[in-house]
């Protein structure tokens, strides 16, 4: 499963409206502050991702990713499960 694709889809869930008009992040090393993902979006995305990867809230609170790659590394380190597909992952948070 493409983690970047998953991240961009989860970001759409976090955004209140116009989610389908967001420009997907293309490079996992692009700092969030250079993208459309603001701090509240990121807070929501991290919580959603922790749910998808089975990371407890307690552990998830320590995640302070500055880019998609850092979030992926954090989840790889702490995950207790992994979704089979983007669709399955989205089904867990919507």
């Amino acid at each position: 499963m493409d983690f970047l694709e998953l991240f961009n889809e989860v970001t759409k869930v976090a955004k209140p409206v116009f989610a389908d008009q967001l420009t997907p992040i293309a490079d996992p090393l692009t700092p969030f502050k250079e993208t459309h993902v603001d701090s509240l979006d990121l807070l929501m995305v991290v919580i959603y991702m922790c749910e998808i990867y089975g990371v407890s809230e307690e552990v998830g609170k320590n995640a302070k990713p500055a880019c998609v790659a850092e979030l992926q590394a954090f989840l790889e380190e702490h995950k207790t499960k992994e979704p089979a597909s983007v669709q399955e992952a989205l089904g867990q948070i919507q």
Partner: protein
Amino acid sequence: MIGLVDYRTAWTESTSLIEDIPHPQRVHLFEDTYARASTGLVYPPHKLAEKVLDPQLMKDLQGRKGKTAFIFASGNSHLAGMNGKEKHSRLWYDYKLLPMTLTQVYAGRIAQACGVKDLVTTDASACASSLKVLMDVQSLMILNGFDRVVVLSFEDPISNNVLQFFGDAQASLSVKQQEEFKVIPSAFDSNNFGFYVGQGAVLSVFESARVMDKLPHAWLVSAYSASENSTNAIGQREDGEGFVKAIEGCLWSCRQLANSVSVVKTHGTGTRSNNQAERNALDLVMTDNYVATSFKPTIGHTMGASGLLETCLLLDALKQTGKVPAIKNRTEADPVFLSEDTEPDSGLILSLAAGMGNIYSAAIFDPRV
């Protein structure tokens, strides 16, 4: 002049029975707002708001010129339903995104989506909230040079906390009360009384005539809010002092006499105390040539959203049928507190709302555009 140029509403006539709470009661509920809420990742009040957050209108707002304010008339500074109580209730959930339950944070996000950069604010005037902010709309546009104010209003009415609070206060109609008194919701009626709590939301746009590029649905002529001399912050004076002060203030602000009003959209909860207070106030201030209705027996009490939402429903009814809808479940023929749909005389609309904390709001609209 200020016009109500756009609005979107969400409400439902259908009811569901919530049984697994201390005061079992029927509610007007969009069942889909609670889908997957128990995961803690979906927040029912936001799902309710999404029903009026029309992407097309919001995108259109981004392109409109002028100085724009955004007001979230939320009724409270924090959406009520964290729902920590009654874990066995089907309404229970434990939402994991606490910052998103703060009304000003949510207002900021939605304002951003509407392209509003000049002012974002919230209002916590309980069930009067969406009408109370119309006083602010006038001030912003007349005194502060705003060209446009977007008003979003919804609360979290169907939640364990609210249903328990309203049940404890015997404000909403419980199953027990219905069985005991053999009643269904109505207002200003000798036989039926009371209300169900209901989910509802409204997104509206008020614009100054100087930037308007289309005719409004109605003109906002005046708005005024008042309090009353009371020692009970969750009660109403029987003589309707708060309603009287709000109506008189509203009429004075636009230099109109009561006989220019032909339709009153009452607060109309149908509780015995509101029936008495509001009827007394109208008897005191109004002349004979008006009709009055209430939407709460039809859609429930949508709390902070109710004042403006019900006004929009009245405008819809007048546009579609030319008539003011009757008060549902009214058992007595009455030419004023309507028992039948009625074509009103030409004139102004007076909308009323009341909220806990002794707040009373009135707004006057002119549907003749």
